[in-house]
Amino acid sequence: MAKRDVPLRWDRKMQQRLARGEAAALGELYDRFASLVHGLAHRVLDDERAADHLTRDVFAHVWEHPDAYDPRQGPLRTWIATLTHRFAVQRLRATETAALVRGGPGTAEELETKVRHASVAARADYIVQSMPAPLRAALELAYFQRRDYRQTAADLGVTEDEARRRLRLGLQLLATARDAGTAPHPPGAPPEYGGAA
């Protein structure tokens, strides 16, 4: 837990600075989280401009409501990922619904399926980014570089047992992306963004 205290101190400090109205703090917040926010938004919306807009909305929300973050609930990063996810899914559902109303192709059921898949894909991205680095490294070798677990073990300088353990644990974490509720999230019931780390 001692390790977690340092980032949480940063999180609290950042919240205070945002609340105080420090423009420089907003810049630092952007520098730290923009690629996370934009990446998740893009995974859900699959559109560069829409992801840009969503990034603006998320940072505006944080800047206007810094007190909405409760450090006791977890890291700022998790809160921002949760916000992004919720805003992005809302936006996807709104634009898809509007297209449907205008007589676009598809059914309401297909729309929900699309929203659900986008939502799970974004959560999976976040889980991969947030999982402990050794697990991520093992998955990357085994999946993207197509190394078998023995080669993975050799590449990482760990035992074969450990390589197997990391691959299994990494996938177990990733599998939780499907577990969180994928129905529209009522406020106060965000998707499970905390579980991975």
């Binding site: 420089a24 703090a25 893009h42 399926t113 993207f144 691959l167 299994r168």
Partner: protein, 440 residues
């Protein structure tokens, strides 16, 4: 350079095809059926196994026809530990066969196997992480419009804020190869170009130490720490820092550089209207607001050096920021001209026109075209004189980015693509003076 090579992205995504559409995973609820199978005994348990998609062929096995691998006898615990590797097709054919066989008999493992194999379909290459650098300004401006800041970043510090953020984004995905890529820093000294070899990490160390002069002026810690430099001059500080370490700088230099640049922006915001605070560069001083522009300019110039070294594109600053940098260089030109004159490198001032401070004098019209451009009248005979259209003796036209490259010592004054009309000696002196603004 990126963590994942986009080129083979399609090939990798293709691997998902054998699992079919994502839609097929919707029957998640059918998990429950595994339980029923279990109750009905072993006879139906093959049905459980069949539901699990076939493993991917690993690269080594691809294309080769393998004999039916004889399952090896493995303990339950070992088989369980193999499930992750099995789901990723990252175990041997014998092990995979042993797991397959085991899944027909063990309900718990079959459930987990299905779950892990579905998880594999969620592995995706990260999308390109390159954010549009202009997005930062748009997002921040949008926020500040909605809720005006109580402690704003002064206008003269925004280009430093933006340029350091842009460079940091460039460094984001650098691996060791990029950090140690050779960079040749170039500048202009006397009438010649000078250069110094270093690495990408060495360039960041250079920015850290020279930004440190601003940090010190603001009362922040000096990044040199216990290292003593003979003077405050940027080159002296940088060389002292490079020398003090037994090892060449590494990627570890990024965090202190970024932390310091954030601290500088934060501190100037708190000092409010302290733009006039003097910042010492050893043999000269700049007021804080100009020192921040200078640091923004250096940050961009060296970001270009780095981008070039790793063969990556890098755009010039936004028009507003570029204009501020050009304006600083234009304002520094009369002083640079006087210094070159004192050193015997420029033609002597014209006596009849030697003017008192604040009086109009012989001038050169510097016309900067393109993004961030404008017009500046450069007084030629004294730094204290005021530029005057009535005394205009020459007219030089340059592209904004070309002018900045000249002022950075990256283009020689002889080769700079400049449209020229009028007094050739005055033009030569001004172009050389612009180049002399550069330094390590």
């Amino acid at each position: 350079m990126k963590a994942y090579d986009e080129d083979d992205g399609n090939g990798e995504y293709g691997k998902h095809d054998e699992y079919g559409e994502y839609g097929k995973h919707d029957d998640h609820g059918k998990h429950d059926e595994h339980g029923e199978h279990g109750e009905h005994g072993a006879a139906e348990s093959t049905g459980t196994g069949a539901r699990i998609p076939l493993p991917r062929a690993s690269v080594e096995d691809g294309g080769r026809v393998l004999p039916d691998p004889a399952p090896v006898a493995l303990e339950h615990q070992v088989l369980t530990s193999l499930l992750g590797a099995w789901a990723l097709a990252a175990c041997s054919a014998q092990e995979a066969a042993a797991v397959d066989e085991h899944l027909g008999q063990c309900e718990a493992c079959a459930d987990e196997a299905l779950r892990l194999r579905e998880a594999v379909t969620l592995l995706q290459r990260p999308e390109s992480l390159d954010l549009d650098p202009a997005l930062r300004t748009r997002v921040l401006d949008g926020c500040l419009e909605r809720r005006p800041p109580r402690i704003p970043v002064p206008g003269w510090a925004t280009s430093y804020d933006a340029e350091t953020a842009r460079l940091d984004a460039l460094l984001q995905d650098f691996g060791d190869a990029e950090w140690h890529a050779p960079v040749r820093l170039r500048w202009f000294e006397g009438d010649d170009t000078a250069s110094r070899r270093t690495t990408v990490a060495g360039v960041i160390a250079h920015l850290l130490t020279v930004d440190g002069t601003v940090a010190v002026a603001l009362g922040l810690d000096d990044p040199l720490g216990d290292i003593t430099a003979p003077t405050r001059a940027p080159a002296a500080r940088t060389e002292a820092y490079w020398r003090a370490s037994h090892y060449p700088p590494t990627r570890a230099v990024r965090a202190p550089w970024r932390e310091q640049s954030h601290s500088i922006v934060r501190t100037v915001a708190f000092t409010g209207d302290a733009g006039g605070l003097p910042v010492s560069y050893g043999d000269f001083e700049l007021p804080l607001r100009d020192a921040m522009l200078d640091r923004a300019f250096e940050c961009w110039v060296h970001a270009e050096d780095i981008a070039e070294a790793v063969d990556y594109p890098y755009e010039p600053p936004s028009a507003r920021h570029l204009n501020g940098m050009i304006d600083l260089a234009a304002r520094m030109l009369p002083g640079a001209l006087a210094a070159r004159r004192r050193a015997g490198l420029a033609a002597p001032a014209h006596r009849p026109h030697l003017v008192a401070a604040g009086e109009p004098g012989r001038s050169l019209r510097l016309e900067i075209e393109g993004s961030g451009g404008g017009e500046w009248l450069i007084p030629l005979d004294s730094p204290g004189a005021v530029g005057s259209t009535d005394h205009e003796v020459a007219h030089v036209a340059l592209d904004g980015v070309e002018f900045c490259r000249l002022a950075a010592g990256h283009v020689s004054p002889v080769e700079a693509a400049a449209g020229q009309v009028g007094d050739r000696e005055a033009i030569r002196d001004v172009l050389f003076a612009a180049a002399s603004l550069s330094r390590l």
